[in-house]
């Protein structure tokens, strides 16, 4: 009987909660969805993006700014937080950067970005929950993220509720983005990144004719045809069957010896995580393999973790202030915090694109923004001028975007920055 009482108390506890949830949300949703008028004085709405906003802006900020709440899904707990916890810092800096420049201008009004970040918990279920929360409770019209294959979980929710969502990047699974997902945009077409790796490899190691493709196994089925087509387009040949590895492996030496056995001119690792890249590279060098290796890097992480063993690396996507070729917005972003931090620049770039698309559309309606965005052929990105890519690949025109990609050569632990490479447009 007491048990029954406890259950009842629990149930009763739920009721005020329901009321509370209505009440709590009212503070944010009673006003027209997602736009609440606030003044940009000392009483700005709370949030990490606005608390640190400095007064020094080169544009004349209007006295009163309205707030545009933009959702973001980042995995802040569990394994993918290795990427997303870092991306969160830069996402907040990017929002601050846009706000400092006067926010997003729509129909003569300036809107300050306020980020609503939800934890995707590094799982599809967690991402479903985060997307549900943003769509149902926060009722946000624009969302940035998620990254990686987590779009599998979030795309259906966003599409059903007509929420414009800009993925950081994705795993090329048709369920993430296809001809019917008309609200789905993509900050970085992953094929262009792979293209930049191979292009810079060919540029700095012109003798390379055969490459060994070593990549993470789980995403490979979706990438396979596109990677093979890419290698063909560039006039290279694969040295053998792709070498697949699991990102949770402890020991990558067996993978390294498999690569070595193919004896390729170069090794290409388009998808993976730092532990796998570093493990394979160390293994290759220990085995005496001396050919160049290309993969996405963060230069200080590579030299820090590998020391002198870091040699013969053609790395892409490393963003450092010491790089003379760095784009202006990226340099500004880096200088907003510790300049030596690892900037992934995925979600921040998606937000940057979204802000410019909203301005171009001159509307806060996701459908109107989408319609306008589909007609754009150039948008600024954090990396410089962005361009659409992969219309045929995704079945959507101007939905997936690409940008110039930083290149760095690392030999004997020394980093040498090269001019940024503009990847080929993916068909």
């Amino acid at each position: 009987m007491i048990l029954g009482l406890v259950l009842l108390v629990l149930a009763l506890g739920l009721l005020p909660l329901v009321a509370a949830c209505g009440g709590e949300e009212e503070t944010t949703t009673t006003a027209p969805p997602a736009t609440t008028a606030t003044t940009a004085g000392p009483t700005t709405t709370a949030g990490p993006t606005t608390t640190a906003a400095p007064a020094s802006t080169d544009t004349t900020a209007p006295a009163a700014m309205e707030t545009l709440r933009i959702g973001a899904i980042l995995s802040l707990s569990d394994w993918y937080s290795v990427v997303d916890a870092a991306d969160k810092v830069d996402l907040e800096y990017t929002a601050q950067m846009i706000n400092d420049d006067g926010g997003i201008q729509v129909q003569g009004k300036n809107y300050k970005i306020e980020l609503v970040i939800e934890d995707g918990k590094s799982s599809l279920d967690g991402n479903t929950a985060a997307a549900t929360k943003l769509v149902l409770d926060e009722k946000l019209p624009f969302v940035v993220g998620p990254g990686a294959f987590f779009n599998l979980a979030t795309t259906p929710i966003f599409e059903q509720n007509k929420v414009l969502h800009v993925a950081n990047y994705n795993g090329l699974n048709p369920a993430e983005m296809n001809k019917d997902t008309r609200y789905a945009f993509l900050g970085l077409d992953p094929i262009t990144q792979a293209n930049a790796e191979l292009k810079s490899l060919m540029l700095y190691y012109p003798d390379v004719k055969t490459v060994c493709l070593a990549t993470e196994d789980a995403t490979y089925p979706a990438f396979e045809p596109h990677f093979k087509a890419l290698v063909e387009r560039l006039g290279l040949t694969l040295s053998g069957d792709p070498v697949l590895f699991a990102t949770n492996a402890e020991d990558y030496n067996p993978v390294a010896s498999k690569i070595k056995a193919q004896n390729p001119d170069a090794v290409w690792m388009p998808v993976g995580i730092d532990p796998s890249y570093f493990g394979i590279l160390t293994g290759l060098r220990t085995l005496g393999y001396e050919g160049p290796v290309t993969f996405p890097i963060d230069a200080p992480s590579v030299t820090g973790a590998l020391g002198d063993a870091a040699t013969g690396i053609v790395g892409v996507l490393s963003k450092q202030v010491t790089d003379p070729h760095i784009s202006a917005p990226m340099k500004r972003l880096l200088e907003m915090g510790d300049v030596n931090r690892h900037v992934f620049g995925l979600a921040p770039n998606a937000l940057y694109l979204l802000a410019h698309a909203i301005e171009a559309a001159d509307s806060l309606d996701p459908t109107a923004v989408r319609d306008k965005w589909e007609t754009l052929t150039s948008l600024p990105t954090l990396y410089g001028d962005g361009f659409p890519s992969g219309s045929q690949l995704f079945g959507l025109t101007n939905h997936a975007w690409a940008h110039p990609i930083p290149v760095a050569l690392i030999n004997n632990g020394q980093v040498e920055y090269k001019p940024w490479i503009i990847p080929d447009v993916t068909p």
Partner: protein, 345 residues
Amino acid sequence: MSEVTKISPAPEEAARIEEAPKTRPRRWPRLSMVGALAVVLALLPLGISGSYYMHVLILAFMYVVIASSWRAISISGQFNIAIGAFMGIGAYATAIPSVWLHWSPWVTIPLGAVAATIVGAALAFPFARLRTIYYAMGTLFLGYVVINLITAGGKTTGMSTGLGGVQPLFSDRTYYYYLTFGLMIVSMLCMYRFEFSRIGVRMKAVAQSHEVAASVGIGERRNRILAVAFGSFFAGLMGAVYCHYQGVASPSSYGLGATLWIIMYILVGGINSFWGPAIGVGILLIIPEFFFRDLKGDLPYVTAAMLLIIAFTMPEGIAGLVKLVRGRIFDRGRREEVRADASGD
């Protein structure tokens, strides 16, 4: 391995069931409370329609069934660390035909439940001779094998990234709410019948001593396999519904981590009580999601703290505490009765 025998329900549980006819009048208030809770939950969508809280409650309903199905297996003395795998079999058995063959979810969901039952029962055969810690470890690796097969399954299973594009059952969340709520009621009734019936008593006898049970003609193997088949049916069914609700099937939802958290629900709620799993889900799933979601990356600290508090203060979980308190009150009441009788004389 004496500590493992504690897994099996306490002897007083069995004793209480035999007393059941005597205590029946007293159970009515409890059932009415459950009924009141059911009514409240049934009316809740009027208040929370289209909010995140509804999502959490839908998940909670499913996990109540899954956790209870684990307990249904455990009453026969089997500490099964493969419940997530049964969910996973249910989920992939419905997701694969749904995605690749475009079968209707109404066909594939029962298929998933049946598949989980068949696999569960078939695998229960070799495991029926393992006991205590060996059974626990055997099922742990069984779960690990199932997840590894899914991750190694190539394009068909979507590997570790998961399989997207599973057809939804409804477009409106409120229907899911009532579907899972209804399924929960029906499943809980089934499990209640199962546990407090002749079969349940046999299972508990097996759990306490398989030798004694065998001596009075209760076959250990048969009862244990039956328990696993029964439990895996509900786990598979909910795994299937879960995957249609989420729109994706992903191995991380069914792996060892997920299984251990399901077991945590039961331990927190109280393994020796029928309502334990439901209470545990309320504590470990609903409370963090409702009140602490804003902590984001720090949320695991809250659940860890809850586990520690309950492990330290409530050896039998929350239901155990409730039982203890109730016991004290009744004891006092009885003592007072006795005293009153004595004074009356």
